[in-house]
């Protein structure tokens, strides 16, 4: 009997440390995996950049420029990643009919993306409730606005080009860069 009780206590002690860090602390493993998978899927869904699109003009700022003065606060990084993923999800939910991309890759990409968005949301929501922090701290606000601003450029670009094949190819390339940037952010998660 005493053995069982001791075992019980040991298990409780072991689990209790995990319960406290449930939602957030282990996100980086999943995020790293998502980054890797997404880069592969972006490559797979459309193959090489088509030759006829090399002359297409690009008029939006790159991600690095937008978020270069990003503070490395952990909280901030999570929010930045969540915001970026959410926007990428929205980008790929737009009119893709002019592309001949591989549908299965797009669906897999969207599904993995959506799953991670939900995880990040749960984590951020959980932390907000725990800490009682609202969207008020300057760093967080600035991050959010900069991400929104960047993606507004992307949406406008697609709309201007009427969701043409070349416009989408450029965006696919840009989203690859975006994930490389997210991967850099993930390292400080």
């Amino acid at each position: 009997m005493s053995t069982m009780r001791l075992l019980h206590i040991c298990l409780i002690l072991l689990f209790s440390t995990e319960i406290s860090s449930q939602h957030c602390d282990l996100l980086s493993f999943q995020q790293k995996k998502l980054n890797k998978d997404s880069l592969e899927l972006l490559e797979k869904m459309g193959g090489n950049f088509p030759f006829q699109c090399f002359n297409e003009g690009i008029d939006f700022k790159s991600m690095q420029d937008v978020l270069k003065r990003q503070s490395s606060q952990k909280e901030n990084v999570k929010l930045a990643i969540q915001n970026i993923l959410q926007e990428i999800f929205t980008v790929f939910s737009k009119n893709l009919t002019q592309t001949a991309w591989d549908t299965i890759s797009i669906i897999t990409f969207q599904n993995k993306l959506h799953q991670q968005i939900e995880r990040l949301e749960a984590c951020l929501g959980f932390q907000k409730e725990k800490d009682g922090t609202k969207m008020g701290s300057d760093g967080l606000v600035l991050t959010k606005l900069k991400v929104r601003r960047y993606f507004q450029g992307i949406y406008n670009f697609l709309e201007e080009k009427q969701y043409s094949l070349c416009a989408w190819e450029i965006i696919r390339m840009e989203m690859t860069r975006c994930f490389l940037f997210v991967d850099q952010l993930t390292k400080s998660l």
């Binding site: 053995t3 001791l6 075992l7 040991c10 072991l14 995990e18 319960i19 449930q22 282990l26 493993f29 999943q30 995996k33 998978d37 929010l79 969540q82 915001n83 959410q86 926007e87 999800f89 929205t90 939910s93 669906i107 897999t108 969207q110 599904n111 993995k112 993306l113 959506h114 799953q115 939900e118 990040l120 949301e121 749960a122 951020l124 929501g125 907000k128 409730e129 609202k134 969207m135 008020g136 300057d138 606000v141 600035l142 959010k144 606005l145 929104r148 601003r149 993606f151 507004q152």
Partner: protein, 576 residues
Amino acid sequence: MAAAGFLRGDCALALVALSLLAALGSGRCAGQMNLMIPQNVQVHIINTNITLKWDWNSWNNFSVTFSPQYQWLEDYEEDGTNWTELPGCENITVTKCDISSAVTDYLCNYSVRVRAERGEEKSPWSEPFIFVPNIIAEIGPPGVQLESVNGMVKVNISPPEANSKEKMWTQHSFSYNAIIWKKSSNAEPKNRAIYPRDIIHDLEPETTYCLKVQARLNSEAKRGYFSPEQCINTTRASNGLPCPTNVTVHALNMKFLLSWDNHYNNSVSFNVQYLSGFYKQFNEDYSNKWYVVPGCENISHTQCDFSDIGASGNYYIRVNATNGYNRSCSSKEIKVDPCVVNEIGPPSVKVNSGPKLLRIQITCPGEENKSMSECYELSYRIQYWENSSKPEVSNDVAQKSFHTISNLMPSRAYCLKIQAFAQVYNKSGQFSNVICTETLSDHMSPLVVLTTFLIAVVVVLVLAVVIILAIYLSYKKIKYVFFPSCKPPSNIEPFGGQLFSNLYISTSEEPAEKCCIIENTIQEDANPTNFKNYSNSKQSSRDSGNYSNDDDTSGSKVSEETLELRKHLKHDWEHN
């Protein structure tokens, strides 16, 4: 930034104090600047509807108009554009104004201010209110449509700003929360997450339910306004085929099984369908995105292996039954988060014992299944104890599949069991069977070491001797065969000592005995022409059997010799 406006609080207080003094003074000196400053200037934003509001005490100030102004602070800097009148808000008499047409960039800093005017009289400007629309905006109520179907309620939600051209929020970023309650009952309203297109099961038939829905942005902890309450009567379930019930998922080592109850009298077949999870985020109709699970189409048994769908994100599963031409309604949709639903089985364990230690080899559960590593980075929790009357359980954690537990007592029985766990999903696997083994004895160890050492030394020595012998013998053999030391006897030497020294080396010219046949009939006249003929008819033969190196020089030599011999014989014959 937005906070900058609040930082000026002190300044605002000073201004308020000044204006109060001015107001007090106005009683005595009529015609002076005696209008009060509008107070508490604020901006309220719901979706893209932006309203400017301020407070004004009208008891003392009749026929007052207001003219608010705004400034656009580009790039979050303090110095912005010039102050401009807000279109549609010039000389208004009310204390609020819609400024949506002027504020169009929702990600920029704006500043607004108001002053009161009466004829030529103008109050000082109020303290400016600085804001970023997107940050202070609130989420409006979503649109909700209800439909009562087959004892359930179908819900269609349209996002808060579905009909406006300008968008404050990122599309598809909302999650929704519904509050549902039974009308005319005291039951507690239930809170539940709801998707833009959802079906509410578990409702009582022919009962009135009410609900209201709110949109949320979870990552920002923003909660929107509730939609107006709506009520709907549930119907009685139809008389046709009932929906499959009690649908459950069992998953072990990434092998996924779905099972459900068979409560049909007649023979029916079942179809299992799945939907990629992200479609649930959409407000658009996605009913054609449900696909049949491979191998689970028109099956008669109530179980389906859907492991093939894989672990790329979440998905939903549902079952329906068909009976000839009748199709049942679909079962409740089950959300499957593969890595979360899955249970981790026991690992297989091998134990080798040493003195004072146990060497453990752990094989990951479900190793043949690739998707296990898609989800988890497994570690192993080891519980071990001495097999005695009072066992004390110790714990250890192994990160890799080989692990050693040291600092044990020698020659004691130890038992252990191991479970795999995935820290990322806070998941602990099943424990392996208990394995008991005895550590090796410690006492014998010096003797064992010595014996081992001695044996090793002997083996090394024997090996060395054998190798040296082998080298010596082969050296001797080679020397005997290729470079023999013995000399041929002196009587053989003239025949060619060379012959012995290079017995195995082929020579270009093989020596052979030279023979010649001397003919018995010798003609008397020594005619030179006859000699010539004779030499032509000579024959030579060699006992080696090699006839290939016949050449002219040897032939001429022989003929000279024969000529001399002939002269000699001729001389003898004349003499006789």
